[in-house]
């Protein structure tokens, strides 16, 4: 009962937060005729009559239609569905809060997310590091420069996976098994992911000339809570990414 009441309070806080910032709540479909274009996401299917529909893995595509139509800053507090995701921290059906702020930089969005979290759980210590900084600190490598061979060697050393992984899969596994457990208590913001893990984010060249994505994640006590981006708005680049 206590958790149900807390969840209700949480939802109210979220809605108040965005209302105060003039971000419009939108209701988007959770069932669509297509599924997301991510090789690591599998959509659940439903059949109605002769037509197969897909439960949405996130509101992203519907949100982007609204953004393209000029609706401005929007958010949804809704459900998402994913096949094959079940465990201590995963359920095929889960609640997701997704929002877009027109004109925000990645840091603006990070600050806003931290503000939202602060309203819900104040006084947590906050640390912000780049993806590269965390890999340097905990594994002694530069993730933008490391070879596939070297990173696979680290996978063998730090995880119980045996086999060859692609560079990005290896980095992801290492981050989850060797970096996440060592994150400090409180909130940890991780920024500037390698370009290969960029999905639809803007890419820039960092101070050392590496191609990095304007993508961030927020962890609390080692649990991944949020994932955010400064979105790609160049239509040609978007087409390129879709084709990839």
């Amino acid at each position: 009962m206590k958790y149900i009441a807390e969840r209700a309070r949480l939802y109210r806080q979220i809605r108040d937060f965005f209302a105060a910032r003039h971000v419009l709540e939108v209701d988007v479909p959770t069932v669509g005729r297509t599924a997301a274009l991510d090789p690591n996401l599998e959509a659940l299917q439903v059949v109605s009559g002769k037509q197969t529909y897909y439960l949405q893995t996130s509101p992203e595509y519907f949100h982007k239609r609204l953004l393209s139509a000029g609706y401005g800053s929007i958010y949804s507090l809704t459900r998402a569905y994913r096949q094959g995701e079940q465990g201590r921290l995963h359920n095929p059906e889960f609640a997701i809060l997704e929002w877009y702020q027109v004109g925000f930089t990645m840091q603006d969005l990070i600050d806003e997310t931290l503000s939202l979290l602060d309203g819900i759980k104040p006084d947590l210590s906050i640390t912000q590091n780049s993806y590269a900084e965390l890999f340097e600190e905990h594994l002694g490598i530069n993730p933008h420069q490391v070879s596939t061979a070297e990173v696979n060697h680290l996978v063998e050393k730090h995880t119980s996976y045996r086999g060859e992984l692609s560079l990005d899969s290896a980095l992801e596994l290492l981050f989850s098994q060797a970096v996440e457990p060592r994150l400090p208590t409180g909130i940890q913001v991780v920024t500037h992911y390698p370009s290969g893990q960029a999905a639809m984010a803007r890419r820039i060249e960092d101070a050392c000339g590496y191609s990095v994505a304007l993508r961030f994640e927020i962890y609390l006590e080692g649990v991944e809570l949020a994932n955010g981006y400064e979105e790609l708005t160049d239509p040609d680049e978007q087409r390129n990414r879709f084709e990839q």
Partner: protein
């Protein structure tokens, strides 16, 4: 099957970075060696299944090299070697029902019943009237097992033992 040995899964953890390849981390017990260890796989990876089955079988006898068991339903017999019987050897009493883990049709390991009733064949003499006093002494049972028993017990007494802890549970009538 993992690395050539049949294993059973003891624990499973789903590992999914927010975006990207999902992994499954499993804790497994090697059924041949008993060792528990961990392995991570890509989600969706397939593994070879092991032909392992637990069967209740009756212990018949020991011919010096093999321990013979019989399935009371099919009357089929199986012989387990030293490796498969392991520590269970000291608790096996003829006619007792045990669980025999079969791998590819051969006994891989034997689990004795939780409790067994055995006879003391050797122990130091007890002192009459010692029932109230604490303390115990080692006693050798008819299977060769050595168990600590209360001082008042003598050769010929029948005792009930917990095979998992080698603890004396009480006297028994056979």
């Amino acid at each position: 099957m993992l690395d050539g040995d049949p294993c059973s899964i003891v624990d499973v953890e789903f590992v999914k970075p927010g975006k990207g390849q999902a992994f499954t981390r499993v804790k497994v017990k090697n059924l041949s060696t008993g060792r528990v260890w961990e392995r991570t796989f890509k989600s969706g990876e397939s593994l070879e299944s092991a032909d392992v089955m637990d069967t209740e079988m009756q212990y018949l006898y020991n011919d010096g090299e093999f321990w013979h068991f019989m399935d009371p339903n099919s009357f089929e017999q199986a012989q387990a070697d030293q490796n498969a019987v392991g520590d269970a050897a000291q608790w096996l009493k003829e006619q007792d029902t045990c669980v025999v883990t079969m791998y590819n049709g051969s006994p891989l390991s034997v689990t004795p019943p939780n409790h067994v009733v055995l006879e003391i064949v050797d122990t130091d003499p007890g002192v009459r009237g010692d029932t109230a006093q604490g303390g115990n002494k080692p006693a050798t049972l008819n299977t060769g097992a050595v168990v600590k028993v209360p001082l008042f017990l003598e050769i010929g007494d029948i005792v009930k033992v917990d095979t998992r802890t080698a603890e004396y549970l009480g006297r028994a009538k056979d």
